[in-house]
Symmetry: C2
Subunit: 150 residues, 2 copies
């Protein structure tokens, strides 16, 4: 029997990710109250593009832990909102490079501040050390589940 055997009845919140769900909901609410009409999922795509503009959809898949259809549709919706633009790559015509627009850049500062502030509220009373430890555990869980998968 593995020494970290999980007792029944303890697994539910781990599987459902209730903390991250609550956090996403709160951030969504904060966006709305500030009159920012994008979803958290759309924001999370912009987040990666703000860090590095001109990523391919495939890059976005990897970085945002989503599958290809999800990214296709998030980019669709972001394009409708005129927050990003698809630009076909000249080297490889299969590839779309995604660039943020001026409008999206205007959102960056405010939404990043809101995200940081929301996260800090969520982590109120939790020590830096415990946060680090928790992040490591979650990363390990992710890695365990994806080893051997490509």
């Amino acid at each position: 029997m593995p020494n970290n055997q999980f007792k029944r009845g303890e697994l539910y919140s781990f599987i459902t990710g209730m903390a991250s769900t609550a956090l996403a909901r709160r951030l969504q609410k904060n966006f709305k109250q500030a009159g920012i009409e994008i979803t958290i999922e759309q924001w999370s795509v912009l987040y990666h593009l703000w860090k590095e503009d001109g990523l391919s959809q495939q890059d976005l898949c990897v970085r945002s832990f989503r599958d290809k259809p999800s990214i296709t549709r998030l980019v669709d919706n972001l394009e409708k909102l005129k927050l990003v633009k698809r630009v076909p790559s000249k080297n490889d015509r299969r590839i779309n490079l995604i660039y943020v627009t001026e409008a999206a850049l205007h959102l960056q500062e405010e939404t990043m501040n809101m995200a940081n502030q929301t996260l800090n509220e969520a982590l109120e009373g939790v020590s830096k050390e415990d946060i680090e430890r928790c992040k490591e555990v979650l990363q390990q869980v992710y890695d365990n589940l994806n080893q051997g998968v490509r």
Copy 2:
């Protein structure tokens, strides 16, 4: 400045709950490979009913951290699959009490074992102590975000 100020670029995986998503996906795949044709969300409702049968939909909302429409539809789908039954309460006719069927009871042992095993695989290499610490952090995050909310 709060002493647990989160640095930019570190928040993404926390918000998206990539670990819990990966875990849910893996468990779903394991169900499918075993020929069990229910979704993780449906399973999570059954999970609460196995612990305590005859809960109201409202009870299920609270315990599964979902809103009312979500539970309505999950119960709809579970009822179609003949895994639960809605029984109107005699004391209060607004209330539906949800009971698992024989068919659902047959799923309990196997799926709970699969869930525990999947979780143990996910937590391979993580110490009991770190798991505890991580659970406490996630609980604290949830509580922080829901204090003052009812």
